[in-house]
């Protein structure tokens, strides 16, 4: 296993982040580093703030304290151009969240055309390529309502990739899928990671995390309880809470 320091420069740096909804503290002093080309998994019980953390990273939710930088830019700097941030950070959600009134191809083409103002013909070619890559060449004209969950999720991945992001965030993207369709989405993500895309994955698929992750973070109660290479964290967890969680889910 390569040392983390042989990987690229840090793409996402989260330091001392706190986030409260009203008086409820969801994140308490969270820190993590993701380097270029790295695949990082975040595991932990439901409600521990994993989704909130991802949403903070692409600026959908403002943080209360601390700092998050993406490609060297402070996410919560009020002067930061949100557009340039979101162009660098792709996010895929558990519920796919495709645009239901657009075909698969249009879903992938929309943001590059509307947001990046790129040439339509070029975008279409790229969109076709991306949909082929996620195995959906035969579904270009289908609407989200006509696709299975796994197919929709792969369109959603292609849609994010069409913006050429520097980092991809995946929030329990297989949680709503049945075991068979789960596989097709996981394979897509695995290919992506293998190609060198920087990925942060929130997942309950422990087997998958163990296989693809370069580094795993375990969160509980808004804190990073423990982190390390998957072999260490899954094989020999140091913390009691980690052990208890892994015993329950493995």
């Amino acid at each position: 296993m390569a040392s983390r320091h042989q990987l690229g420069e840090p793409v996402v740096v989260v330091a001392g982040v706190e986030k409260s909804f009203g008086s409820f503290k969801v994140l308490k002093d969270v820190g993590l580093i993701v380097r270029r080309g790295e695949t990082v998994c975040i595991i932990g019980p439901s409600g521990s703030g994993k989704s909130t953390l991802l949403r903070c990273i692409n600026g959908l939710v403002p943080i209360s304290k601390g700092s998050i930088t993406v490609a060297g830019r402070e996410v919560n700097d009020p002067r930061l151009d949100k557009l340039s941030l979101r162009r660098d950070v792709g996010i895929v959600f558990q519920q796919y969240n495709l645009f239901p009134h657009k075909s698969a191809l249009q879903n992938v083409m929309m943001a590059p055309i509307h947001v990046l103002k790129q040439d339509k013909a070029e975008v279409e070619e790229r969109a076709r390529r991306l949909l082929a890559k996620v195995g959906l060449s035969d579904k270009l004209a289908s609407y989200p309502g006509e696709l299975s969950g796994g197919q929709q999720q792969r369109v959603a991945i292609a849609r994010s990739l069409a913006m050429n992001p520097k980092v991809m965030l995946f929030d329990e993207v297989t949680a709503a899928l049945d075991p068979e369709t789960k596989k097709e989405v996981l394979v897509t993500i695995q290919d992506l990671a293998a190609e060198g895309m920087t990925c942060i994955l929130v997942t309950h698929e422990m087997g998958f995390a163990r296989e693809v992750a370069d580094h795993v973070y375990f969160t509980d109660g808004g804190l990073i309880v423990e982190h390390g290479p998957p072999a260490e964290l899954f094989g020999a967890p140091r913390e009691e809470r980690t052990k208890a969680f892994l015993d329950k889910v493995l």
């Binding site: 557009l83 979101r86 996010i91 943001a111 509307h114 609407y143 309502g145 913006m163």
Partner: protein
């Protein structure tokens, strides 16, 4: 804004031979009906009554089309301002909606025509006289647009609120600005959700145009009443009037239905 103008094209002398013959046949039938049965549908055989009635029909259609479009624009503008995060904007839109929703449209119309219209300066009509800046038809369009627009604000708001926040979040995470988000994602979905309610409101608007009668706008009801007070055929004209409105509303419902079908999304139900 001359509602009488396009009438020229429906005058008998312009119609081609076949149509002229048909019109003549229809006229002969109704003339006989009047002589034998005493049922006086003068609009079908009397050129003067017919022209008055068609002017009314044109005026009503004109008011409907312009007021429908303006009320849709007002509805969009209203939800946009109300959702823009400006407190003043939100307050203004709320006041507008409350005012026009909670007062009778006839009173609104009179208010604009008599109170506001009376305050405006008059302009020279080019014949040495003075005419009001905004005609009765103009006021009817303004008042009815504002009236229906207030309901459209509420209808659009409900539609926009029904667009899943997760879909909005997906667009935001792709870097969409608020305007782009509205144009490409929120409004297309909200429109589909609120079409049934919008349908109702626009049908209501068509029917409400009869109120313009009260300020002397030569729309359908006004034309009909002029005809029946001179030709003494109230009962017949009432029937003609009702059928005409049924047809007018049918046209609107047909157009809205076409629109709804054109916007139907495969595999998606609202």
């Amino acid at each position: 804004m001359d509602p009488g103008a396009p009438l020229r094209c429906v005058r008998d002398d312009v119609a081609d031979g076949a149509t002229a013959r048909q019109i003549a046949m229809i006229a002969a039938f109704f003339e006989r009906l009047n002589e034998t049965q005493g049922l006086n549908f003068s609009v079908f055989y009397d050129a003067f009554d017919r022209s008055r009635f068609l002017t009314g029909l044109w005026t009503t259609s004109y008011i409907c089309v312009v007021a429908i479009l303006a009320s849709l624009l007002l509805g969009l503008l209203g939800v946009w301002v109300a959702g823009s995060g400006s407190r003043l904007g939100r307050l203004l839109v709320r006041a507008y909606v409350q005012f026009f929703r909670n007062t009778p449209p006839l009173v609104q119309l009179s208010f604009f025509y008599f109170a506001v219209g009376g305050l405006l300066p008059t302009v020279s009509d080019g014949f040495g006289g003075q005419s009001p800046l905004v005609s009765g038809t103009g006021w009817a369009i303004i008042a009815l647009s504002l009236f229906a627009g207030a309901f459209n604000v509420e209808i659009f708001r409900a539609g926009i609120e029904a667009v899943p926040s997760t879909t909005v979040e997906a667009a935001e995470s792709l870097g969409y600005t608020r305007l782009q988000l509205y144009i490409h994602v929120v409004l297309p979905l909200a429109f589909r959700i609120c079409l049934p309610a919008l349908n109702n409101n626009l049908v209501n608007l068509v029917k409400t145009t009869t109120l313009a009668y009260a300020i002397g706008v030569p729309e359908l009801l006004y034309a009909a009443s002029q005809i029946w007070s001179e030709s003494f055929n109230v009962r017949e004209m009432m029937n003609v009037l009702l059928v005409t409105y049924v047809l007018l509303v049918a046209v609107l419902v047909f157009v809205m239905g076409r629109w709804e079908r054109a916007m139907r999304i495969p595999g998606y139900s609202t």
